[in-house]
């Protein structure tokens, strides 16, 4: 084959292949590039001068991978606050009221329910366990909420329930991964990194995707639930901590004043500009931007992470405990972060694994305490967002990796010291609130004892598709090429849950 022929073939092949892959994001960037470029070069003309180098064709994302981008479709919300209760709270003590289960309390579980089922700890024939909380209908919607959540009962009309969410994973680690990355195995990007990759961040002084944890532990599946998988690692969640540096290494070393740090960064960037003039490598421009952002972040992050300056009534509303690591603090921080333009705020609260093996893990004792810990802060978060007009542009999601069985757990086939329930993924409850969500809706129905879905069963992928839809993406088109194929958050599944959309 002569070289001309090869060139032609190479080109045809390249073009066709480029089209085969769904270069959605790339197109988006190129599309924006022209616009963004002008402003960029205006800002750095000072050192580029009018020489040849100014003509390098760059997109804003070449310089700043977190540059904000418009979604491909009109979005209902700008930001997401995702509240994940790690360990799996019992829907049967919180939202899914089952009077029949009460009547069947202590009855052996019918064999028909157990056949073909695998449980994490239940062995043999367990007994049914009636609801350990009292339920009432609340608000105009008349949705059921238990007495474990007295504050939340008052804001129940703000949210839309999904009562029959389904997952096929019944161990914490894999189920959390599925819930946050769309796959029970490691290696896929989390929802937050997909969103940050697709939209960038509105505030260049703060990370675009922030993770806050409470309950003393990180989630079972580790950092992968906010990892970036095969997406560039710049899109992974940044864990902001209540103790120590809020972001690792954000504080200046002792003895270094802010002014001196400013001088240091100025010196670094002046030399980097010299270096750019010599090498014309746009990576150097990205580095200059990176150091400027780091400097600004050093001020912005401690500022946004400081809740002391909030008015007393706000602190009281959330029930915050400054200086500690608490879910209440994190809810208030979540509001502050979305207010400042952070794209995705992920909260994890650990301690919901009510097996009945201890006081803390009893559905009638420890679970009630956990509910008390989140009841006020969550209600305050919804109200606070609402009073600031932020709720309409924020999506708040509450949920966990799975739910719990209507049966009482009988570890090793033996009666346990406390009342507990085993892991159960067939039908559990989640809720969403905020922009684009039908207020007071409830979708999905479980059977009389809350074991299986009767109607309105939705999958984890459906939940993801719905979140993506609200953020302005078609989950089927939002893909990333890796290992020779386009990957997406919802894999090959997922339908937008229209029933809870306004």
């Amino acid at each position: 084959m002569n070289s001309l022929d090869r060139l032609i073939k190479e080109k045809i092949q390249r073009e066709l292949q480029a089209k085969t892959r769904r270069h959605f994001i790339k197109d988006c960037v190129t599309g924006m590039g022209g616009l963004a470029l002008g402003s960029f070069f205006m800002s750095c003309n000072s050192f580029l001068g009018n020489n040849e180098k100014a003509k390098i064709a760059l997109t804003e994302r070449d310089i700043n991978p977190l540059a904000s981008m418009a979604p491909p479709f009109p979005a209902k919300v700008k930001s997401v606050i995702y509240l994940h209760m790690a360990g799996a709270p019992s829907q049967l003590e919180m939202f899914d009221y089952k009077p029949t289960l009460h009547k069947l309390n202590n009855q052996p579980c019918p064999q028909s329910l157990l056949e073909g089922k695998k449980f994490a700890f239940i062995r043999g024939v367990p007994k049914l366990l009636g609801p350990q909380a009292e339920f009432k209908q609340h608000g105009e919607s008349g949705n059921w909420v238990s007495n474990f959540l007295p504050h939340f009962s008052k804001v129940v009309d703000e949210v839309a329930f999904l009562k029959a969410v389904n997952t096929d994973q019944f161990n914490h680690g894999p189920a959390q991964l599925l819930m946050h990355t769309g796959s029970p195995r490691l290696g896929r990007p989390s929802i937050g990194s997909w969103v940050t990759y697709g939209l960038g961040s509105e505030n260049q002084n703060l990370p675009g995707f922030v993770v806050l944890t409470s309950g003393g532990k990180t989630p079972d599946a580790g950092k992968s639930v906010w990892g970036s998988g095969f997406l560039p690692s710049v899109y992974q969640g940044v864990q902001c901590r209540s103790k120590g540096d809020p972001v690792l290494y954000i504080e200046d070393p002792k003895g270094i004043t802010r002014n001196l740090k400013k001088s240091t960064i100025d010196a670094i960037n002046t030399i980097n500009k010299e270096e750019f003039n010599e090498y014309s490598d746009p990576e150097i421009l990205a580095r200059i931007n990176q150091y400027e952002m780091a400097y600004r972040m050093q001020t912005a992050v401690p500022e946004v992470m400081n809740i002391n300056n909030e008015p007393e009534h706000i602190k009281e509303m959330y029930g915050v405990e400054p200086g500690k690591e608490s879910f209440a603090n994190n809810c208030l921080l979540a509001r502050k972060l979305v207010e400042d333009g952070v794209r995705f705020v992920q909260l994890f609260d650990w301690g919901w694994d009510s097996h009945g093996d201890s006081h803390a893990n009893a559905v009638d004792l420890g679970l009630r305490n956990k509910c008390t810990q989140i009841d006020r802060p969550i209600s305050a978060l919804l109200l606070d967002l609402k009073q600031r007009g932020l709720l309409e542009e924020t999506l708040v999601v509450w949920g966990s990796e799975f739910g719990r069985t209507p049966m009482q757990e009988n570890r090793e086939g033996q009666e346990m010291a406390f009342k507990g329930r085993d892991h159960h993924g067939d039908a559990f409850t989640m809720w969403m609130a905020g922009g684009g969500i039908k207020k007071g809706a409830s979708w999905g129905l479980t059977d009389e004892i809350g074991f299986s879905a009767l109607e309105g069963q939705v999958s984890v992928h459906d939940v993801h598709a719905t979140m993506m839809h609200l953020m302005g993406f078609d989950h089927e088109q939002f893909t990333f090429d890796f290992q020779g194929r386009p990957f997406r958050l919802t894999d090959v599944e997922g339908h937008v849950i229209q029933e809870i959309l306004a």
């Binding site: 040849e52 977190l66 580790g222 030399i271 780091a294 090793e412």
Partner: protein
């Protein structure tokens, strides 16, 4: 056809000759038309090429509905036999030689949108339809993608000076054969190579690429002073121990090596002996074929050495799920699936994982073939147990002598075969029956281990004792006087063994008489003890094992051997998870999983390799050893290409095929296809799989030695440097950033090997559930070891490495994406580790009393370059500001430099300057 090609070539031309004047353009177009005319005349026929012309159209427009996942209308274009088979309509869609009668072509031209293909999409372009028509008329010849055909012998392009516009630069450019390939493409694109990089620049680039560190002072000065040649420097660097450490970190990403098991509790485990094996293998330049065989199948080699067994830990780097309530079989299968996927990703650049659920969407791999491959890996002994068995035991010298003595005695008095079995059992304690195999029990539980209460019993089925007269049992117990009874089949069965267990101080291995029966047995195991509450566990049983009997001798020697065996079995030693194959009588059958679901098993399959790749040689055993030989057969089209492509990427930051993880019809086309094949063939045939020789070829090229200076024209034409008109300029990797800072400051420890270390990290990073592990900061020189020795906890890797794009090694990583985030700047500016390095560089700078000299020396030490006056002025200003600041607030000096008592404003200011130098782009980048 002519018209179509003409258009495309004109466009190519336009793109390549950017901004030529219009008249030039017209002239060139005319020349091109002439060239095309001549070319047309010279071509015997313009045969349509399946891979280049047809496959991309099919992949883009057809394969989603007519491919590996969906076969709408019973028609698929993925495999040749499917494409020409009868469709649901009863006739084939493609009739070779007759496009007019082929429904495949007819449907493309339909006006009725209900009938036209692609269904409900816009019509194919006229050109595409013409190409497809022509292809069918020419006989619809199917073709293989280049990646699945063997590399062919490639002629090295001749240096055609006449083609060049100016030839001056390119003459000095050519240093070896690689450059001919590069130069031809450059010329075709109207580009000229760049000038060679300055000696100091190339010395730093080279040392970073080969050893991950800047060159040491003497090597650097010898080269820059012209005392040694460039090649001398290359050879010297390749012979340094740091070479193995640098390249091992690349391999360990692919091997998903880590110090913990992963998943929920992410407990620690000992894997570092494998890391050391990799370093040593690189340093002794183990040929890549051997490197492959030992890691995939070292245990199956004849008389495997300890090193062979250590190598197999490659596939024990899979995660192990210790979360309560998980099914060990589910995660054993997950590990096997990971091994299949990783093997194909690492050696074949093929994402075989897709094929687990359906035939590959684009590439010629069938669903069933996945399970054929899985059958190779499905027979290893590991079963996701909490102890990670099988584990290789590392005995001390004396104990090892005992093992040899036992082996020799049995070989002499019984047989080689039996001796072998004892040696293996002492070396890695296999084969054993884990108690988690027990599925049915009463008054007891199986949660990892078996526990039985009073009147408790359970069933362990399908046990083959090989007719042994003894059973080995690993157990522990907290109470005395439990009677254990093992019966055949059930409670009424024949008693096979009865014994009493008492309180043990720890978990022990005991040898217990057992009835000799040479057939597969179902064991009924019972525990009785009336002296204790029925709620208490009487014992915890880990495994059961049987070994063929050895002749009982009345001699003292025999008694010694007998005792010694038990003693060794009860000896705790350092250990490493390894691969061990099942004995024949315990072979697992492998079944196809319906839609990838491991619980829905269908057809049974045998080990086999994909049909579209190289043929199987019947001389190879049908196990992992055979598979590894198939992989390194010179007939395999992917192994050598994959390796050379990835080594190239390590050096240039981009592969010849940019999608490193995928070579197939969806991968990026190679930028230099002939060069890829030439390197692959040379690697196998001339270098005999030597990676050092390959690296040397690449770094000796003029292509590599070019200056990395860019300019607007070059950047706009080739932003990613895929044509190599300039040298590589890439930010250093996570490991190199740390190691360079330590090296430049003089803190770096060159201590090699051993358990992983824990350099300082902020408090509160480790917060894993159900895991008591703590980060215990290493002391002394272990604080300053190279990054490769840093403890890697999968759920919580070393934070500053994570920030610089190192992964968590939960799954195999073929390519790290290089990103740029403000968090990286925070690490190198504020992390105490980096401040300490800055302080030590400052101390070096402070040897001079002249600030200018100090800064010059520090910059030179760090960047290996003389500082320009302008940069010097900037740093001097920073120094002056700092001195003033510290003199103004002397309290800050002590706070900033807590390392020493004797400090002053000068040293503190120099530390600020050193910190700035160590944050410069030129420091963080290999240019």
């Amino acid at each position: 056809m002519f018209e179509f090609r003409n258009i495309v070539t004109t466009e190519t031309l336009k793109k390549n000759s950017v901004k030529k004047k219009v008249s030039y353009g017209i002239l060139l177009i005319s020349i091109f038309l002439l060239v095309i005319f001549v070319w047309k005349m010279l071509q015997p026929s313009d045969t349509v090429d399946f891979s280049a012309d047809i496959k991309p159209i099919l992949n883009k427009n057809c394969i989603t509905c007519h491919g590996g996942v969906k076969k709408s209308g019973g028609f698929s274009l993925l495999f040749e036999e499917e494409a020409f088979a009868n469709t649901e309509s009863g006739v084939p869609a493609i009739i070779p030689g007759n496009a007019a009668k082929s429904p495949f072509i007819q449907r493309l031209k339909e006006d009725d949108p209900e009938l036209r293909m692609p269904y409900k999409k816009s019509k194919l372009s006229k050109e595409e339809i013409e190409l497809l028509t022509k292809w069918v008329d020419q006989g619809a010849k199917w073709g293989k993608h280049w990646a699945y055909t063997l590399p062919e012998k490639v002629e090295i392009p001749e240096a055609t000076q006449s083609a060049g516009i100016s030839s001056g630069d390119s003459e000095g450019f050519i240093q070896n054969d690689i450059d001919h390939f590069i130069l031809r493409t450059l010329k075709n694109n109207d580009l000229e190579p760049s000038l060679p990089a300055e000696p100091n620049v190339i010395a730093r680039r080279l040392a970073m690429d080969i050893t991950g560190l800047p060159p040491n002072d003497s090597l650097f000065s010898d080269f820059t002073a012209g005392k040694i040649t460039y090649e001398n420097m290359v050879d010297e660097l390749l012979s340094q121990d740091a070479y193995g450490e640098k390249w091992a970190s690349w391999w360990l990403d692919q091997a998903r090596y880590a110090d913990t098991k992963g998943y929920e509790s992410d407990m620690g485990r000992t894997m570092w002996q494998y890391r050391d094996w990799v370093i040593k293998a690189f340093n002794k330049d183990m040929p890549y074929d051997q490197f492959t065989i030992e890691q995939l199948a070292g245990d199956l080699l004849p008389n495997p050495s300890a090193d062979h067994l250590i190598a197999t830990a490659f596939h024990r780097n899979t995660m192990n799920n210790g979360e309560g309530g998980t099914d060990d079989e589910e995660f054993r299968v997950a590990a096997v699936v990971d091994r299949v996927n990783t093997t194909f990703e690492v050696w074949q650049s093929t994402t075989i994982g897709c094929v687990q659920c359906h035939s590959h969407t684009y590439d010629p791999f069938k669903n069933r073939e996945y399970y054929n491959l899985m059958a190779f890996f499905n027979n290893s002994r590991d079963e996701d147990t909490s102890e990670d068995e099988p584990n290789l035991k590392f005995y001390n010298e004396e104990q090892q002598k005992e093992v040899t003595k036992i082996y020799e005695w049995i070989a002499k008095n019984e047989s080689q075969e039996v001796a072998e079995k004892y040696k293996n059992f002492l070396t890695y304690t296999e084969p054993i029956y884990h108690s988690h195999l027990i599925k049915k029990f009463e008054n007891g539980n199986v949660e990892g281990r078996l526990s039985l209460r009073d009147n408790g019993f359970c069933f362990l089925n399908n046990v083959y004792t090989q007719g042994a007269g003894y059973m080995y049992l690993k157990y522990s117990s907290g109470i005395d006087g439990t009677t254990m009874t093992i019966k055949k089949d059930d409670a009424d069965g024949e008693i096979l063994s009865q014994f009493v267990i008492n309180k043990t101080s720890s978990t022990i291995v005991r040898k217990i008489p057992f009835k000799k029966i040479n057939e597969k047995l179902n064991l009924y195991i019972e525990a009785d003890n009336n002296n204790i509450s029925p709620k208490s566990a009487l014992g915890y049983f880990t495994w059961f094992a049987f070994l063929p009997d050895i002749p009982e001798h009345p001699s003292a020697e025999y008694m010694g051997i007998k005792d010694s065996i038990l003693q060794l079995l009860n000896t705790n030693t350092p250990s490493l998870p390894i691969m061990v194959e099942n004995p024949d009588y315990r072979n697992r059958t492998t079944q196809v999983f319906e839609r990838g679901n491991w619980l829905m098993k269908t057809d049974t399959v045998e080990p086999a390799t994909p049909k579209s790749l190289n043929a199987w040689n019947d001389a190879w055993p049908k196990n992992r050893l055979g598979l590894s030989k198939w992989m390194v057969s010179k007939e395999n089209p992917l192994t050598a290409r994959t390796l050379v492509n990835r080594v190239w990427q390590q050096i240039y930051g981009r592969g010849i095929v940019a999608s490193l993880e995928d070579m197939g019809s969806q991968s990026d086309p190679p930028s230099h296809p002939e060069l890829l094949d030439w390197l692959a063939l040379r690697f196998m045939n001339e270098h005999n799989w030597s990676i050092k020789a390959l690296v040397k070829d690449i770094v000796m090229s003029g292509t590599y030695r070019q200056s990395s200076k860019n300019n607007a024209k070059l950047y706009n034409l080739d932003p990613e440097n895929r044509l190599y008109a300039r040298g590589p300029r890439i930010r250093l990797g996570a490991e190199q950033i740390r190691d360079q800072a330590l090296a430049v400051s003089g803190l770096l420890s060159t201590k090699m090997y051993g358990p992983s270390v824990m350099p300082p990290q902020p408090d509160g990073i480790w917060q894993t559930v159900y895991n008591g592990g703590n980060w215990v900061e290493s002391q002394g020189e272990d604080k300053y070891r190279k990054a490769i020795y840093t403890y890697l906890k999968r759920t919580s890797p070393y934070p500053s490495f994570l920030t610089f794009d190192a992964g968590s090694r939960e799954v195999s990583t073929v390519r790290r994406t290089v990103t740029n985030t403000p968090l990286q700047a925070l690490v190198t500016l504020n992390d105490p580790v980096y401040l300490e390095t800055a302080y030590h560089l400052a101390k070096f700078m402070g040897k001079s009393n002249n600030v200018d000299t100090s800064i010059r020396e520090g910059y030179r030490k760090a960047v290996l370059e003389d500082i320009s006056e302008r940069k010097l002025a900037v740093l001097k200003e920073l120094y002056n500001t700092s001195v003033a600041d510290f003199e103004d607030k002397p309290k800050n000096i002590k706070e900033f430099i807590p390392f020493e008592t004797d400090t002053n404003a000068n040293l503190a200011a120099l530390t600020v300057v050193a910190n700035a130098i160590m944050n410069l782009d030129e420091f963080l980048t290999k240019s």
